[in-house]
Subunit: 138 residues, 2 copies
DNA sequence: TAACTCCCTGTATTATACTACAGGGTTCCG
DNA sequence: CGGAACCCTGTAGTATAATACAGGGAGTTA
């Protein structure tokens, strides 16, 4: 029966974020407006902590706050249209595949550069500039 | 003997960027200050076009303008210290590997979500929230 | 009750990468 | 020479994601 309650300082310590960031997320609508003490202090629950950790992890995976907001809206049941969900997820998936592809190309270019560099020890012609001037598909 | 010369409008048309972006890059030091006509109009050369295309392609690969600037400095011979070059390249390579790794994880999560969605057609429990609340390594 | 820590609000600043004016000067065509 | 199209400068605004700070209130403990 005794659910854990946190004040701002306790929550930010547990989630390892700044207190300004917490308020920022609240203002952005990513976190619900918490209840308050008589003195006006915010009171958070376990649910808020989980939500905050979700935001943190999703960010780590490269999602923008806007996208995270959309996913949270789905989780909250505000957005129950399946087509909508699929659309968000698929759109992101396309971008991810493209990014993985691009990162692979950049990786090759950088490995070439590093090798080139260790061979000559001076750079007269630049392998990256050459590679990238020719263009990257898409 | 007749090298191609471009005015701002011609160059931005060829590179497919905005004219303000061109000035922005000049101010940032990514493009050298071009020579001018008697009337003060900027005159660009083929070399500038190649440089601009390099910036565009490097951006597509996810490099920041700051990193692009460092690579251009290398290409310009301003930075000929091999250790420095290797350092920039290796640092980026580490980030890339991590990003590829993270994107792969996100991809799995999203594919799960899409599948879940097409099975149930309604979302009662949210697979992404569940996945991400548990955390992502590193 | 003083002192101290924590919390409140609102506003301003940071960094990245542009994008959009306002108010002029230049070039070129007829 | 008139007018359109183009270019110049400087400043301001946009979006994203925070981060910092000023000025004040709340809660706790000696």
């Amino acid at each position: 029966m005794c659910e854990q309650k946190y004040k701002t300082g306790e929550l930010v310590a547990l989630a390892e974020i700044g207190k300004e960031t917490l308020r920022f997320y609240e203002k952005k609508g990513l976190l619900p407006k918490p209840s308050r003490t008589a003195g006006g202090y915010r009171i958070y629950t376990e649910k808020d902590l989980r939500r905050l950790l979700f935001i943190k992890n999703a960010k780590k995976l490269g999602l923008s706050l806007k996208e995270i907001g959309e996913l949270l809206a789905i989780a909250d049941g505000e957005l129950v249209d399946c087509a909508e969900v699929r659309h968000i997820a698929q759109k992101r998936l396309d971008i991810i595949n493209e990014q993985i592809d691009n990162l692979g190309k950049l990786k090759t270019i950088l490995i070439d550069l590093i090798n080139q560099c260790s061979k000559t020890n001076t750079i007269n012609s630049c392998p990256i500039i050459d590679s990238l001037s020719k263009g990257v598909k898409k």
